[in-house]
């Protein structure tokens, strides 16, 4: 039974690849990246040869070599290990922030769309104001005032993405509300409500998954940016953004590996989540339209 399922799955895979072309590959690559980095985040010890703060991993400022594939930084720490351990930090913050954003934004959107009236108007205005303002700047202000600390930073990053969920969910609620009234005209009652839950839910879920993925991508960038500016997590925790900030003064001396690899890591991880989000959106969209 397992083999037939696998065979079916692989067939579907092959067919879809032909049909959807580039988008399919993008999704696959994205998922692979995300999967791989999640593994390193969950089990950093498995992937990193040294601890992140171990200062005897090699000669100070040693360039990339077999012993230290990403080179060594100014304190004798292995850059590769710091990148691996850093993935845990950044993915943790980004994921939790995205979770908080969605858990606040989605219900607010639902209620606002459903209830309407003054509440909706006011909330929409507030959300629009936050949305149109540069998120990073808001996060900077929040992070600076709340102070360092993993909870504060996560909170700061979470706030700026709430409007995204709100707007999307509210929009969908509003359009479905219209349909409800048309259906209500035929007065069938409770069973229609259940049908609606079956109808709203998959649509909303699909778009929320897309936003969630893109949210994490954005949160990664924001967290790293905050750390770069010195407003991020406290010193002990390995963090890609701060490593770049710390390492940039050595650039002029030619020690490029200290900042290049953490940067590449940020790009890859962000890319991974963006790829997943974007390709899902493309693939799901035509299907939604057909419905």
């Amino acid at each position: 039974m397992v083999t037939t399922f696998l065979r079916k799955f692989l067939n579907y895979f092959k067919e879809s690849k032909k049909k959807y072309g580039v988008q399919w590959w993008i999704l696959v690559i994205g998922i692979v990246i995300v999967f791989f980095v999640t593994l390193t985040a969950l089990f950093p010890g498995v992937f990193a040869p040294y601890g992140p703060n171990y200062m005897e991993s090699g000669d100070q400022f040693a360039p990339p070599s077999f012993q230290n594939i990403f080179g060594v930084d100014n304190l004798g720490r292995d850059v590769y290990s710091r990148v691996v351990y850093g993935s845990k930090t950044i993915l943790g913050v980004a994921f939790v922030a995205a979770l908080i954003s969605s858990l606040i934004g989605i219900p607010l959107g639902l209620i606002s769309g459903f209830v309407g009236g003054v509440f909706d108007r006011v909330l929409s205005l507030i959300m629009d104001s936050i949305f149109s303002f540069p998120g990073l700047i808001l996060a900077i202000a929040l992070a600076a005032m709340l102070g360092p600390g993993i909870v504060n930073i996560t909170g700061a990053v979470a706030v700026i993405y709430i409007p995204q969920y709100y707007r999307q969910v509210r929009g969908q609620t509003l359009s479905i509300k219209e349909e409800v009234f048309i259906e209500a005209g035929r007065a069938i009652g409770a069973s229609k409500l259940r049908l609606l839950r079956k109808y709203i839910f998959p649509n909303v879920l699909a778009t929320v998954v897309v936003i969630f993925s893109l949210n994490i991508a954005d949160a990664i960038m924001t967290e790293a940016a905050l750390s770069y500016l010195g407003l991020g997590l406290p010193a002990g925790i390995p963090d890609w953004g701060r490593d770049i900030a710390m390492g940039k003064k050595y650039l002029a001396s030619g020690y490029w590996w200290v900042i290049t690899f953490p940067g590449l890591a940020i790009v890859s991880l962000t890319l991974g989540f963006t790829m997943v989000g974007e390709s899902l959106s493309e693939l799901l969209n035509p299907k939604l339209r057909d419905k």
Partner: protein, 338 residues
């Protein structure tokens, strides 16, 4: 003309509550935090009396709502207040540094637009080919690159390895800014003063930071242009134009492009917010003496009034840019009715 004016006024009126909300949000966020600005100013070991006195002096002893009302009254007089940290009016450093940021942003935006639109149009025109796929990937990847890392890499390659371009500041130390400083927009000032070596120096300093901004934002424009172009190229009037014997080049770059630009322009307004956010990162990486850099520095120093003022200014700029873009859109597209 009349319909545009009416539209303009309505939009302007809508902008005000948004700025107001942001202002309020920031005000309260800045006040409701654990770190005490007075203590950080005078040092935690300063005697209680001195701290209290300073607090009174700065008006921080009053209840928050009273402070808020005071602030609103102050804003109504268009007074942004005095810096809490430095002995100067808030407006002074802002006035100084704003042109630097604007010059950088505008330069970067123009390059991003030109690059993005050209690549996007080219990609749409050659749909499905390897060139197109490369352009699409470019659009996807470029946005995932942190601005500061992009800046640092550019510095590394062009400033350190090749030593072609400067990597910090707006001018070299050889150049005497005071000689031509006029509007604060050095590109213009140097030209007005006829100081060509200075102009070239300013230009050289602008290249890398503007390029950083431009590359990151071009991604969005590439994808937008490409998507819009594909839609437009499918339209009947494009086919009809071809049927009239109009050359392919004209069909794409005259007929199709104008129709594509219209939705792109509406996105421009939204991109402004992104521009400013990335400007913060770029300015700090290139030691650019701009307003964004000032913001970060003053936040570290807990200088509320300055931080508030800058944020309000950013909010105003974002809203204004959105408004201007909408106006241009209404002007270009004859179908728009209000």
């Amino acid at each position: 003309m009349k319909r545009i004016l009416k539209y303009f006024t309505i939009r302007l009126l809508l902008t005000i509550p948004m700025i107001f909300i942001l202002l309020t949000l920031i005000f309260f966020v800045l006040r409701v935090m654990p770190a005490d600005p007075v203590k950080s100013m005078l040092g935690a070991h300063a005697p209680e009396r001195v701290i209290e006195q300073k607090r009174k002096e700065l008006g921080l002893d009053k209840p928050i709502l009273a402070q808020y009302v005071d602030y609103l009254k102050q804003l109504a007089r268009f007074d942004l207040g005095k810096s809490m940290i430095m002995e100067q009016k808030v407006i002074t450093p802002i006035k100084d540094k704003l042109p630097a940021t604007l010059e950088l942003i505008i330069f970067g935006l123009i390059i991003a637009l030109v690059l993005g639109v050209f690549l996007g149009a080219y990609g749409a025109n050659n749909r499905g080919t390897g060139k197109d796929t490369t352009i699409r990937l470019y659009g996807l990847i470029v946005f995932c690159i942190p601005a500061y890392w992009m800046g640092l890499m550019l510095q590394l390659i062009f400033g350190i390895w090749f030593d072609w371009l400067p990597i910090a500041g707006r001018t070299s130390s050889r150049v005497l800014v005071a000689e031509f400083n006029n509007t604060g927009f050095y590109l213009i000032d140097t030209l007005i003063a006829g100081n060509i070596p200075a102009f070239l120096d300013v230009l050289a300093h602008l290249v890398l930071p503007a390029l950083t901004l431009a590359l990151i934002l071009s991604g969005i424009f590439v994808r937008l242009t490409r998507a819009n172009m594909l839609d437009v190229l499918n339209n009947d009037y494009i086919l009809a134009a071809r049927a009239r014997g109009i050359s392919e080049k004209k069909v794409v770059y005259k007929h199709a492009l104008k129709n594509t630009m219209v939705p792109i322009l509406t996105m421009l307004g939204m991109q402004f917010a992104l521009l400013i956010a990335n400007a913060v990162l770029t300015e700090s990486t290139f030691s650019w003496p701009g307003m964004a850099n000032l913001l970060v520095k003053r936040i570290h120093l807990r200088d509320y009034p300055t931080v508030q003022a800058i944020i309000i200014l950013i909010a105003v700029m974002v809203s204004l840019s959105s408004l201007i873009v909408d106006l241009v859109y209404a002007w270009i597209d004859p179908r728009v009715e209000y």
